[in-house]
Symmetry: C2
Subunit: 423 residues, 2 copies
């Protein structure tokens, strides 16, 4: 396919950063280049994002974690969102998405772009829907040209990746809303587009204008995150006709993007029972020609609101082991309210646990070495080394706080198995 | 084998409670009786435990969750432990273990037995080791008769299940400490017994006196939880010779117990990388003749201290799906300190998420129906029904708190996908 030859910006990034990228991933740079050229790896980096940290998604790069941020109509305090951005960064997220739908969206977005080197993603449709509502229009009362303008503006502002639900067809929307599904459509973008198609009696404008979307993406090296507007929103809906209809279209759109030198990744489920996770991930990867796969969870149960970061970590670990490349976090606030700073922290951590567990299971040398190192440190009751190898050193420090003078931890004390045997 | 015919207490319980047991599990009572008779199911219920809730472990019974409680030398406040017992019960644990190693152990234990109808488990060796240390002896400086006396006393006090590391042989201890392992022995009981065998130059007293242990268990219908003193304490140690040596002995001991009409379950790992969980669980179940399997986690990574309830939920979900019957919780305090009340709550919840996800993946009708119900409620924005079907209704209530007057949740507000489509 030779994506690199058609994408000047990507080529320049590689010329400049290939050593740093290979070093960060601890992978041969020729292998990364090969993946980028075929489109099985994507490099998140829009040159308009000042000093962006170019970030690779897709094997052989490590599994990455994204944190969703942004205001909502009931919780709109941009300062709080900036604080959450710092928390996500500090916790170890590899990318963030600004999903704001309230307040001055341009200011929030450009503020985040300036404030963080992490690649930033958006859903341009959200901003447009918000503007429509602010102007007294229906959220789906926009012209296709307005959507393209929004994409262009955000690309110029420095957004590194954008969710565009180009694969949602009228047929797909019909399948999802014909009564066969428990939850129908749970994607906000999907819902807006389904409404648009119904109101305009026309096909999805992101699909009919896909070539123009590709032009805009190419001009700024925006990675298109081909959205799953029909992702299952309940375990019972996973793997139904609506979901697959969209996946198949995403597969076609992936090839069209590669033909033009545009980088894409695929968005995946959603709510998926544990026994179907591997089958879903492998099938989606195959149907979308091994494009990098960006999953939301998947949640392996529907009835854990308040603990969806855990339900998502279970599915995420298995998904990443099965081929998913990029985990979108879920926080304890999912399905309930907008996350707090603490929720953001816990969401990133849960996803990092899942990503790391998957990497260990794939015997990635760095992940295995880290697990070895913390075990060695644990055996020697070397708490400084335990802390250093832990995913959350600060938390280790805090929980050890009260008993720092003791050699053993306070769970077993002098009955510590490690100590009793060593003596 | 006909365990029931040899176990008078079990027979009496079944005669009295078989309808209630079958109703609680929503399973045919003949099927349960068959499992109990073969030993693939165990009934936790010691008649000396006042008003104990007889609890089934092993398919086709549902997956159960245990919460570990108890004082330690650095954190010894029995009132706090009683409070944690109430938290575990309220959160939905199906059984608890009192692992106290500090304070008046008899008082703590009998207090918990009186305070809760949940089956209570212990590790009699802990109490003995504590007494030894209190008397200036080595923790392993006890006579076998003292250990049998401790088991008898606790059985008479009403303990419903006891961890006894009968499968730990000198050969096993040798394999675990010969330098091939990263972590050696991480079980406290295993560590004490390995020390005892070395100091006395003799085989494990729980193995050499196994017949007497069986007599005591039979007399009170104590379920023997055949402990895994050599469980892997690091992912790198999973599946090594030491672990399997012990599993094979546990398989033999299972048959000897069944021959005598004694109920047993098997304790399993520990730390196991994600890709090995299914193989471990299936192999252990086979080697131990489908005895009920009680697992600790398994933890799918070593480097998540502070988030081990999540690492354990990932492994636990997969384990339960693969055949594990009883999940011992891990709390956020694991590897760091004794859990607080909040840790206990979060540990139970994480295990319930894992157990429920496994049940859904096995298409257990009740679990699937619950996921359907919360999804239906979610689609209708019927928050009362969401709360009622949630694993933690109180948390749903609390997080919804600020925005209760709004129909949508505060994550999407008026851009709610469900609402936008419904309109």
């Amino acid at each position: 396919m030779s994506i690199i030859g058609k994408n000047r910006i990507l080529q320049d990034y590689l010329d400049e950063h290939h050593n740093a990228l290979a070093a960060r991933e601890n992978v041969d740079s020729a292998l990364l280049r090969q993946g980028l050229d075929k489109g099985t790896v994507t490099l998140l980096a829009n040159p308009a994002h000042p000093d962006v940290l170019p970030t690779l998604i897709g094997r052989p790069a490590t599994v990455k974690v994204n944190a969703n941020l942004g205001t909502s109509p009931f919780c709109c305090d941009p300062a709080v969102e900036m604080d959450k951005l710092r928390a996500a960064e500090q916790a170890g997220a590899h990318a963030v998405m600004d999903l704001s739908t309230a307040g001055d969206l341009d200011e929030i977005r450009t503020g985040m772009i300036r404030a963080s080197r992490l690649p930033l993603g958006t859903v341009p449709l959200y901003s447009l829907a918000q503007r429509c509502v602010a102007e007294g229009r229906d959220p789906a009362g926009f012209e296709p040209s307005e959507l393209l303008d929004e994409i262009r503006k955000q690309a110029e502002q420095g957004v590194d990746f954008m969710t565009v639900h180009c694969g949602l067809t009228r047929r797909g929307a019909q399948l999802a809303t014909s009564g066969n599904r428990l939850m129908g459509i749970v994607s906000r973008g999907g819902s807006i587009l389904a409404r648009w198609m119904r109101d305009h009696d026309a096909e999805n404008p992101l699909l009919t204008h896909y070539d123009e979307v590709l032009d805009l993406a190419l001009a700024h090296n925006v990675t298109l995150s081909l959205g799953d507007g029909l992702r299952p929103g309940a375990g019972a809906d996973a793997g139904d006709a609506a979901q697959w209809e969209e996946v198949l279209v995403l597969g076609e759109l992936t090839l069209r993007a590669r033909e033009r030198g545009v980088q894409v990744m695929i968005e995946g489920p959603g709510h998926v029972p544990l026994d179907l996770v591997e089958a879903q991930i492998r099938s989606i990867k195959q149907a979308t020609h091994d494009a990098p796969l960006y999953v939301l969870g998947p949640l392996v149960t529907d009835c854990a609101p308040g603990y969806d970061h855990i339900a998502g970590a279970i599915g995420g670990a298995l998904a990443a082991r099965s081929g998913a490349d990029f985990l979108c976090y879920l926080t304890p606030a999912e399905h309930l309210t907008l996350p707090t700073r603490e929720d953001v922290w816990n969401g990133v951590m849960a996803s990092l646990v899942a990503a790391h567990a998957a990497e260990v299971s794939l015997r990635r040398p760095e992940a295995v070495a880290r697990d070895h190192e913390i075990s060695r440190a644990r055996k020697e009751l070397d708490w400084d080394a335990v802390r250093a190898a832990a995913l959350d050193p600060e938390l280790v420090e805090r929980r050890r706080g009260e008993h720092k003078k003791e050699k053993e931890c306070a769970m077993c004390g002098k009955f510590c198995a490690v100590r009793m045997l060593d003596e």
